[in-house]
């Protein structure tokens, strides 16, 4: 049918035979898209007397807002922390491949590195929209180097730093600049962190607490100063103690300022967090849970041995070991695997599982007005799933960017 559009000439697409995630429920509704955004069909009908140019039959699929991964260190052999000459090429390879996992936006993550690496890598990774070329980059996640030596995990100790020069000065010296930085993970117990947290928040950078031995009070102070995320809860922080819950205690802290939410990342690959711990966190604070992959360069590579940087990694199923040992060298689960595992382990609803990978990370980054939802006006970044939450197709700005072979 020819359409009569007095407002815009852009073609209108109607997704039919689908269930969409809207207002926290899966609803049997059609989804309308125009100009890369979700369209209000009732307004189209009554105000413009317009209708769809094209119908996409979703064959009963679930449509969720595209997944957003705020912590991913690389994949497919690419390591974002490597100061190669073609960093943006590496980011593009990963950006393209993660479309298959339903991820439409992500934050390339850099682990603790020397200033030279930051100075070389950061200018090459710009915030940009996704499309056929790959998932959109929302900004870089800088995990370190201002972290605790006792909780460095796999980060190289010699490059850890503290706020010697007065906080913000150290930031700029180390990173070279904060343009295109979406998030910084730091340890709040480091002296001088308060002014850094405030300065970062003022610049619109999300501050996350992690790789830290902070007690609950120090963590709460950081939240009062603006910190809003916890990097991979339980890992690289003091364990929960009933007289000092540490950073974990933020999930139920009564000192979180009104109207603000503390979000927390969970690696739900079934390996890095015991399912019982996952359930405790989820039940204590369901609306703050953000699924992250924390994937390393080995993610996406086939089983067997691979040389990555200075290390040889062995991949067996979902485990990636330092070759010849049983030491885990990082996570290689994909985002859709994490969503499925989270749902199965926590017993949560489909809607909750999907929101943990879409709405919550968007809220964390302050982007929920245009990402992470299927509300009218939001960017049409969509992931089509079957009932078992396997990815069937991925769309960015209303355009199909990946489809599973039948």
């Amino acid at each position: 049918m020819p359409s009569n559009k007095s407002v815009s000439d852009a073609p209108i697409t109607q997704f039919i035979n689908c269930r969409i995630l809207r207002e926290h429920k899966l609803q049997r509704e059609d989804l309308w898209v125009r100009g890369g955004r979700i369209l209000d069909p009732e307004k189209l009908f009554f105000d413009e007397q317009g209708y769809a140019d094209e119908c996409v039959d979703c064959e009963g699929s679930i449509i969720t807002p595209g997944f957003i991964d705020v912590q991913i260190n690389g994949g497919y052999g690419v390591d974002f922390s490597q100061a190669s000459d073609d960093v943006s090429g590496g980011v593009s390879i990963v950006a393209k491949k993660i479309l298959e996992h339903g991820v439409t936006s992500f934050c390339p993550t850099l682990v603790t590195s020397p200033p030279a690496v930051y100075h070389k890598v950061l200018p090459q990774v710009k915030v940009h929209s996704g499309g056929r070329h790959g998932a959109g980059v929302l900004g870089v996640h800088l995990e370190g180097p201002f972290i605790s030596v006792e909780k460095k995990g796999a980060h190289p100790e010699r490059f850890l730093r503290s706020f010697q020069g007065g906080g913000v000065v150290d930031l700029m010296e180390t990173y070279g600049g904060l343009d295109d930085v979406a998030m910084v993970t730091l340890a709040p117990e480091l002296a001088g962190s308060e002014s850094v947290v405030r300065a970062l928040c003022q610049r619109g950078v999300t501050v996350s607490l992690g790789h830290s031995v902070a007690n609950l009070s120090q963590a709460e102070d950081a939240v009062s100063s603006g910190a809003s995320f916890i990097t991979h809860l339980f890992n690289a922080m003091l364990p929960f103690h009933h007289r000092d819950p540490g950073i974990v205690g933020l999930l139920t802290s009564d000192r979180v300022p009104a109207g603000r939410t503390v979000f927390y990342g969970m690696i739900a690959d079934g390996i890095h967090t015991n399912p019982a711990a996952l359930r405790i966190a989820h039940r204590a604070h369901p609306s703050g849970l953000v699924l992250v992959t924390d994937a390393i360069a080995a993610m996406g590579l086939p089983p067997g041995s691979h040389t990555l940087g200075q290390q040889v990694i062995e991949i067996q199923g979902l485990h990636a070991y330092v070759a010849g040992t049983k030491t885990l060298s990082g996570s290689i689960a994909t985002m859709d695997m994490c969503v499925r595992h989270f749902k199965q382990a926590s017993g949560c609803s489909v809607e909750e599982a999907l929101e943990a990978a879409s709405l919550h990370p968007a809220q964390l980054l302050g982007l929920s007005h245009k990402k992470g939802t299927l509300d009218y006006g939001s960017d049409a970044d969509l992931t089509l799933l079957d009932d078992d939450l396997n990815v069937r197709a991925t769309y960015i700005s209303g355009e199909e960017v990946w489809r599973k072979d039948p």
């Binding site: 049918m1 009569n4 059609d30 069909p41 009732e42 307004k43 189209l44 009908f45 009554f46 413009e48 007397q49 317009g50 209708y51």
Partner: protein, 275 residues
Amino acid sequence: MRLVILDDYDLSSEWAAKYIRNKIIQFQPSADRCFTLGLPTGSTPYGCYQKLIEYYRNGDISFKYVKTFNMDEYVGLPRAHPESYHSYMWNNFFKHIDIDPANAHILDGNVDDLEAECQAFEQQITKAGGIELFVGGIGPDGHIAFNEPGSSLVSRTRVKTLAKDTIVANARFFGNDLSKVPTMALTVGVGTVMAAKEVMILITGAHKAFALYKAIEEGVNHMWTVSAFQQHPRTIFVCDEDATLELRVKTVKYFKGLMHVHNKLVDPVLSIKDQ
């Protein structure tokens, strides 16, 4: 009149939907000659709309060349409000079928000049060649559309202030808060509906029984405006058992005895697939 009595709400909704379906298909609407349908809102016609949507989904009927004219709309209620009649029609009918948006006419209760809006609506009906079939409901006070007791039986589309009964009846849609219910509405007149070639009134439920009795077993009276259709050459009342509870046994037996005649109007049920 024809009084078509079915056992329950679902059967009466289905009968009414089949009738509408047959009328549209028999008319053979085309680009130059649309079938004009007057439509109601509310809980009574909901089942009928569901069946019509089902027939569309099965490919048995198309609304491509159907023009619709709704009976009424609240004044001052934002169009996007979930209780506006625009929202009702969109959610319960239009979004599920293939109607051309330009063919769906609903009064706009948010314009500055309400009188002009009413007159324009009457003109649109005239321009479309008049209404072939006007489907309506009945209020507990016997009103058709928002033609409250006391409305002129020859009235046309105009602004009406709602009666207390109507406001109370509608409160359930506004969280049972009487202060939130709109007090005025734009409505087609009794005369507007009388001008249609054929009128079909849907009445279901025991709470409508007294109104049905007043409408068909007592005289034509402006206090029960649906009674005006006693003077229309082609009126069908479609109801369920419960709606007949206040009628005389003799009336009910007579019309039930005619069901084999009535059912010829819906059996066989036509389909565009056969054309």
